[in-house]
C-alpha cells in the first residue's frame, strides 16, 4: 500500500511538471490559435537557465524561479516579434511546421553550446525526506508537486481574472471584438508569448533537478505537454492541469508495473485512446457559439 502511495506521489511530481508545461502551451493556443511545438524547447532553455544560474554562476537558487522565467518570457516574445509575426497572415500549416522546426533549432543550438550529455541540477529543498507512516516523501517531490501546481493554479487565475488575462481571453474569443474594445492585437500577441515563455521557463526550472538538462528534454516535454493538453481538453486550462497529473501518474505506474520502456508507450497510447474515444478531452471547457 505504501509502495502504491509512493508511486502515486512520484507520478504526481512529474505530472505537476507536465501540467505546468501544458498550461503554457494551452494558454498560448487559446490566445493566438497557435500550437507552439517549440514550447518544449523553451522549457529546455528554462532548465538550462536554471543550470547556468545555480551551478555555473552560483547565485541564490530561489532567485532562479523568478529570473529564469522572465528571461525565457522575453525570449519567447522576441521570437514572436522577429520570426513569427510575418507568419501571422500565413496558414496554420506554415505556422505549425515553423514551430516544429524552431523547436529543433533550439535543441540543436543548445547541443552546440553544451556537448555534455545530461547536465545535473541539484534539488531546491535539500534535507531529509518526510515520513508519513511507511510512506517516504522526498522534499523535492513535495516542493515540485506543490510549487508547480500552485504556479499552474496562479496562472489560471491570472488568465481568468487579471486585466491582462482578460485581454488575452477576449482576443482568443473574438479578435475583431477585442480590437473594437481597444485591445491591440500586436500587444496582446506579444503578451501571450511572454506569458507562455514565463510558464515554460518556470516549468524548466522545476524540471531541471528531476529530468536533467539535455536536448531530449525538449522533445519529451512537448510530447508530454501535448498529451496532457489533449487528455484534459485542448482548450481547457484546468483540463491541462488534470491531464498532466493523469499522464504523470499513469507513466510512473506503467514504468513500475510493466516495464521502463512502457513508460514511453503509455503517453502515446493515452493520447491515442482519448483522441479516438473523446476527442474533445476528458475535462473540456463549455464551448460557446461565436456571437
Amino acid at each position: 500500500m505504501s509502495e502504491f502511495i509512493m508511486l502515486l506521489l512520484g507520478g504526481l511530481k512529474f505530472g505537476a511538471i507536465y501540467s505546468l508545461a501544458a498550461v503554457g502551451l494551452i494558454a498560448l493556443h487559446k490566445a493566438t490559435k497557435v500550437v507552439n511545438f517549440a514550447h518544449g524547447g523553451l522549457v529546455m532553455l528554462g532548465a538550462f537557465g536554471a543550470y547556468l544560474w545555480i551551478v555555473e554562476l552560483g547565485y541564490p537558487y530561489w532567485l532562479a524561479y523568478l529570473i529564469v522565467p522572465l528571461i525565457i518570457g522575453v525570449f519567447a516574445a522576441t521570437l514572436e516579434f522577429t520570426l513569427l509575426r510575418p507568419l501571422r497572415r500565413a496558414d496554420l500549416f506554415a505556422t505549425i511546421t515553423a514551430t516544429i522546426f524552431l523547436g529543433i533549432v533550439l535543441s540543436e543550438a543548445y547541443r552546440m553550446a553544451y556537448n555534455v550529455e545530461i547536465l545535473a541540477v541539484p534539488v531546491f529543498w535539500k534535507g531529509s525526506p518526510f515520513f508519513l507512516g511507511d510512506v517516504i516523501v522526498t522534499r523535492d517531490q513535495f516542493w515540485v508537486s506543490a510549487g508547480a501546481l500552485i504556479a499552474g493554479g496562479i496562472s489560471i487565475a491570472f488568465f481568468r481574472y487579471a486585466p491582462a488575462g482578460r485581454s488575452m481571453r477576449a482576443m482568443a474569443s473574438n479578435v475583431r471584438g477585442a480590437q473594437l474594445c481597444g485591445y491591440s492585437m500586436d500587444q496582446m500577441t506579444g503578451l501571450a508569448w511572454f506569458f507562455a515563455g514565463v510558464l515554460a521557463g518556470l516549468a524548466g526550472v522545476f524540471a531541471a533537478p528531476s529530468k536533467g538538462v539535455s536536448p531530449e528534454l525538449a522533445v519529451s516535454i512537448i510530447s508530454a505537454a501535448f498529451v496532457a493538453a489533449v487528455v484534459g481538453g485542448f482548450d481547457s486550462l484546468l483540463g491541462a492541469i488534470l491531464g498532466g497529473l493523469i499522464l504523470g501518474i499513469t507513466e510512473t505506474f506503467a514504468a513500475a508495473y510493466v516495464s521502463s520502456s512502457a513508460k514511453g508507450a503509455v503517453s502515446f497510447l493515452l493520447l491515442f485512446v482519448v483522441l479516438l474515444w473523446r476527442p474533445e478531452g476528458l475535462f473540456p471547457e463549455r464551448a460557446g457559439r461565436n456571437v
Binding site: V35, F37, L83, P86, L87, A90, L92, F93, A94, I96, T97, A98, I100, F101, L102, I104, V105, E108, A109, R111, M112, V219, S223, F226, V227, V230, F234, S261, G264, A265, F268, L269, L271, F272, L275, L276, P279, R289
Partner: protein, 593 residues
C-alpha cells in the same frame, strides 16, 4: 495525341531524372555513387511525401516509422533467404498496410491533432522494434545482407546504384501519374477547400486514407532499398528526427508540387554532404534553413523558381460576350407541372435560436426560385439544409420525389443537386478547367483512380471530360481562362467559375448562394442574363438566395420571403413586393390595420 505525349512525358520525367543520375553515377567514385544511390531513394520517398504533405497538406511525423517498416521487413525476409525483389515487394505491402492502419483513425483530425496521431504511430513502431529484440535485434540493431537479385549478389557501389535506379524508375511513374491525374487534383482541391470538395462528391476522408496508404508504401519502398547498403539498421536512426527532416522535404521544395517534393527531398539528402566540414552543426543548419524557408520563401525552392521565371499573369476583367451552350448534349427538360424540390415543415436550430422555423416551399421544375429576406432571416441556413451542410431538427425535403435529407453531402451531386457558395469555394491552385471537371462529380475513389490513369494516357474519356468542362466555361464566358489557376480570377469571374462548375454535370437542381455578392454592377447584369439563359437552355431548376433585391426580383419566376426563419410571403415577384409583411420586414413599416 500531343496531350498524351505531354502527359506521359510529365509522368516519366522523374524517372528520367533518375536515369540521368545513374548515368552521372558511372563517372564518379564509390562514395559519390553511394550518395547518389541514397539520393535516388530519397526522391522516391519525396514523391510519396509530396502526395501526403505537399498535395494533401497533412502534417505527418510518422515517416521514420514507415521507412523503418520497409527496412526491417525487407531485411528480416532477406535474412531468412527470401530473394531481394520479393522482400522488396513484401516491404511495400507492409508499408501499404501500415499506411492504412495509420490513415483510418487519423483522417478525422486536422493540423496539430493529426500531427500528434502520426507521432503516436511513430513512437509506437519504434518502441515495438526496440522491444521485440529476438526478432529485430532491438536497440543494438540488425545486420543487413547484400541484396540477392536473380542469383547475383549486389556488392559493389555501382551494382547497387543500378539496382536502386531501376527500382526507382519503375515505381516513380506510378506515383507521378496519380499526382498529375485526377487524384492529385482532388487532393489539392480538398486541401484548399474542403467544403467545395465535399459538395462535388469528393470524400475527403477516403482520399486522405489513400494518400496515407500510397505515401507509406513509397516510404517503405525507400527504406527497404536503403537497408542493405546501411549495413546495420537500428531503431534510433528511424526516430522522430528523421520524420521531422523528411517532413522538411516538401516544405523546402515547395508544397502542391511533385517536383517540389523531389527537389526538397534530394536537397535535404545532399546538403549534409556539403556540410561535412561543420558536421556537428548539420541539424542546426538544416532546421534553421527550414524555418527561414517557411518564413521568407514560403513557396519553396520550386515554387519560388517558377514564379520568378513565369511571373504573375494579370487577368483582364472585361465582361465577355457569352455564347450559347452547344446543343450537343440534350438538356433534361422536365415538364413544368412537375415539382423539382419540395421542402416540408423544415426547422433548423442553432442552440436556442430557431434559424429556420417550420418552412415549407415547393419549387416547380425548370423554374428560377428566389429566396430573400433581411439579415438573419434564415435563407442561407435553408439552402445549407437542402444541400446537406446543416442538419435540420425536423422536417423533410425531396428532389423529384426522392428524399434528400438523409443523403450524405458527397452523394448529392450524383443525385442531381449542385450548388454555389456565398464565400466562393473554388479551388484556387487548380486551373479553371480542372475546377469545372471536379464539378462533373465522378469523384468516388475507384472512379478517381481510373480517371488518373485515363488522364495520363490522355484517353478519349479524359478528353471528353475536358471538352465538357471547356463547354461549361464557354457558356459562362470564361473559356479563355481555362488553363489559368483559378486564384488569378477576379471575384466576379470566380463566381462565374462556380456557376460553370455547378452546371457541367447537367444537374436537376442548382442552389445558388448569393451569386452576385460583392460583384460590380456590370457583372450583376451579366450574371443575371447568364443564369436566365442557362435556365432556359438547360431546363435546370434554380434556387437562388440573394440580398440584391432588384437582381432577384427581375430574375425569379417565383419568390419566397423569409423573416426571422419564417415564411412571410410566397408567389410571383410582383405579388410579393406589394405584400405588407415584406415591406414591414424590410422597412419596418407599420402594418395597416
Amino acid at each position: 495525341m500531343s496531350d498524351r505525349i505531354a502527359m506521359l512525358t510529365k509522368s516519366f520525367a522523374p524517372s528520367c531524372l533518375i536515369a540521368l543520375l545513374l548515368v552521372g553515377g558511372f563517372w564518379v567514385g564509390p562514395y559519390p555513387q553511394y550518395v547518389i544511390a541514397f539520393t535516388m531513394t530519397s526522391i522516391v520517398a519525396g514523391a510519396g511525401l509530396a502526395m501526403l504533405v505537399g498535395y494533401a497538406r497533412c502534417i505527418t511525423l510518422a515517416s521514420g516509422a514507415m521507412l523503418a517498416i520497409g527496412a526491417y521487413s525487407s531485411a528480416l525476409l532477406a535474412l531468412n533467404g527470401v530473394p531481394f525483389l520479393w522482400a522488396l515487394l513484401a516491404a511495400v505491402a507492409f508499408g501499404l498496410v501500415a499506411g492504412l492502419l495509420l490513415g483510418v483513425p487519423s483522417v478525422r483530425f486536422r493540423s496539430h491533432n493529426l500531427a500528434m496521431v502520426t507521432l503516436v504511430f511513430q513512437a509506437v513502431v519504434i518502441l515495438l522494434i526496440r522491444e521485440f529484440k529476438t526478432l529485430t535485434g532491438g536497440a543494438e540493431g540488425l545486420r543487413t545482407l547484400n541484396p540477392n537479385v536473380f542469383g547475383i549478389s549486389i556488392s559493389s557501389d555501382v551494382q547497387y546504384l543500378v539496382l536502386i535506379a531501376l527500382a526507382a524508375i519503375a515505381v516513380l511513374p506510378l506515383i507521378s501519374g496519380l499526382l498529375l491525374g485526377a487524384f492529385g487534383k482532388n487532393l489539392r482541391a480538398l486541401a484548399s477547400n474542403e467544403v467545395g470538395s465535399r459538395a462535388f462528391g469528393i470524400s475527403v476522408e477516403k482520399h486522405l486514407i489513400v494518400a496515407f496508404v500510397i505515401s507509406s508504401g513509397a516510404l517503405a519502398f525507400a527504406g527497404a532499398l536503403n537497408a542493405p547498403r546501411q549495413r546495420i539498421i537500428d531503431p534510433d536512426s528511424f526516430g522522430i528526427i528523421l520524420s521531422i527532416f523528411s517532413l522538411a522535404g516538401p516544405i523546402v521544395g515547395g508544397l502542391g508540387s511533385l517536383w517540389g517534393g523531389i527537389v526538397g527531398a534530394a536537397t535535404m539528402r545532399l546538403l549534409p554532404e556539403f556540410l561535412r566540414p561543420v558536421a556537428d552543426y548539420t541539424e542546426l543548419v538544416l532546421s534553421s534553413m527550414v524555418v527561414l524557408t517557411i518564413i521568407f520563401m514560403p513557396k519553396g525552392i520550386v515554387g519560388t523558381a517558377l514564379s520568378l521565371v513565369f511571373g504573375r499573369k494579370a487577368v483582364a476583367r472585361t465582361a465577355l460576350t457569352i455564347r450559347s451552350t452547344s446543343a450537343a448534349t440534350p438538356a433534361i427538360r422536365p415538364s413544368q407541372s412537375e415539382t423539382a424540390l419540395v421542402v416540408e415543415n423544415l426547422s433548423v436550430s442553432y442552440g436556442a435560436v430557431k434559424a429556420v422555423d417550420d418552412v415549407s416551399i415547393a419549387i416547380p421544375a425548370g423554374s428560377i426560385f428566389g429566396l430573400m429576406g433581411p439579415n438573419g432571416a434564415g435563407k442561407t441556413t435553408l439552402l445549407n439544409a437542402v444541400s446537406g451542410f446543416v442538419t435540420p431538427r425536423q422536417g423533410g425535403a425531396s428532389l423529384f420525389g426522392k428524399p434528400l435529407l438523409k443523403m450524405p453531402i458527397h452523394h448529392r451531386i450524383g443525385n442531381g443537386v449542385s450548388r454555389t457558395f456565398q464565400q466562393v469555394a473554388i479551388f484556387p491552385t487548380l486551373s479553371c478547367r480542372d475546377n469545372v471537371i471536379i464539378g462533373l462529380g465522378h469523384n468516388s475513389i475507384p472512379a478517381v483512380l481510373a480517371r488518373s490513369v485515363a488522364d495520363v494516357l490522355s484517353t478519349r474519356r479524359s478528353q471528353e471530360e475536358a471538352r465538357q468542362a471547356n463547354e461549361a466555361l464557354e457558356s459562362v464566358g470564361l473559356r479563355e481562362f481555362a488553363d489559368l489557376p483559378a486564384k488569378l480570377l477576379s471575384l466576379g469571374n470566380q463566381r462565374r467559375l462556380e456557376i460553370a462548375r455547378a452546371i457541367v454535370s447537367r444537374p436537376k437542381l442548382i442552389l445558388l448562394d448569393e451569386p452576385v455578392s460583392g460583384v460590380s454592377d456590370e457583372e450583376i447584369e451579366t450574371i443575371a442574363k447568364l443564369l436566365r439563359r442557362l435556365n432556359r437552355e438547360l431546363g435546370v431548376t434554380m434556387m437562388i438566395v440573394e440580398h440584391n433585391i432588384s437582381f432577384l426580383l427581375s430574375l425569379s419566376d417565383y419568390v419566397t420571403v423569409l423573416g426571422q426563419g419564417r415564411v412571410l410571403a410566397q408567389g410571383t415577384p410582383d405579388v410579393v413586393v406589394r405584400s405588407q409583411e415584406v415591406r414591414h420586414a424590410y422597412f419596418g413599416e407599420e402594418r395597416s390595420a
